[in-house]
Symmetry: C2
Subunit: 199 residues, 2 copies
């Protein structure tokens, strides 16, 4: 470490702060920056500043967008009566990749986690409730991750939403398509059995 | 992909160009940039441009430095008669971490690889030879990686250097400290046997 020039060391430290990036990868990335042309490096730096400047949350669904409302909320063809509630933008991207979902989304910006000190007020829960109270909503699909925090958040929200007379559903649990039964964990297998359907 | 704002998509693409960074990690990194404060993001962008502007290769050993000569070459206490020849700066860092090596380095900037079209002229080979011809050098330690390219480069260089009357050595092959013999590959084990020493 001591033999790295200070400026290089600082750049490596910046890369190390990224989630999932360790010392070695950070070094590799810093060296890659140095191996780029001057123009490429400046382009990269500009992209960072520009993204930070322009990207904000959609006024309706809190998804990331560079306009006042995101593309999905502005799309007339999407069914505004169905709202899929997800943890973050990456989940929206996952659903959009299926090309099957035609409703809209609501991004919570996290999950309720008492251990990390994240409560409902730290998430976009108020915004979800006022969207529902506007009256257009028919169904809320809870699509938080199947983890303890995801389940707790879904349960908490459904208790708030059901009294508003809106149908609340949850993604189906079961064995993943293309997987091997042998390797499925007990709970997943049990849920798959429990949720079995006629064919 | 289609539902990402263009500016965000561009930032993700920049991260995707890094070696070993796939689509998902690039997305994670871009989202991390957005989650930082404005100041942090600008700091990061500045660190990139600054590093690219200031970091260059040492006039002597071709290691990365922000001055004309690197710290190691400027250090009076280092033995200028012993040159450790490595592929790139990361290898210098690895040796420096041992705190045992007191000689100097020569960074080749790559390895000879006909498949990738990299010949001796693309590396700092000329510079190494002229360093040796200056007469101070007593020993050249070949410390290229134990791969086909590393071996070929070491062999090629030693053939050029030996006629100059300088001792050329190679790092010892053997079983790594703390490893399990059971998992050592055949060639390593053979080399360890071949290079056995009296105790």
């Amino acid at each position: 470490m001591g033999s790295n020039p200070v400026i290089l060391e600082k750049l490596i430290e910046k890369f190390e702060r990224f989630p999932g990036i360790g010392r070695k990868t950070a070094q590799k990335m810093a060296f890659f920056v140095l191996s780029q042309t001057r123009e490429e490096a400046e382009d990269f730096a500009n992209a960072i500043v520009l993204a930070h400047e322009k990207i904000k949350r959609c006024a309706i669904c809190k998804n990331l967008t560079d306009e006042d409302q995101c593309k999905i909320c502005r799309n007339e063809a999407r069914d505004k009566g169905t709202i899929c509630v997800v943890e973050d933008t990456r989940d929206v991207l996952a659903f959009e990749r299926t090309h099957e979902y035609t409703g809209v989304y609501h991004v919570l910006g996290g999950l309720i986690s008492p251990l990390e000190g994240i409560g409902p007020d730290d998430l976009f829960v108020k915004e979800l409730l006022s969207r529902i109270k506007e009256g257009e909503t028919k169904e809320i699909i809870m699509a938080t991750n199947p983890t303890v925090e995801g389940e707790a958040t879904a349960l908490y929200l459904s208790r708030l939403i059901k009294p508003l007379g809106v149908r609340v559903t949850r993604l189906a649990y079961g064995i993943p398509v293309g997987s091997d039964l042998e390797y499925a964990d007990d709970i997943t297998l049990y849920r798959a059995l429990e949720g079995r359907r006629d064919i």
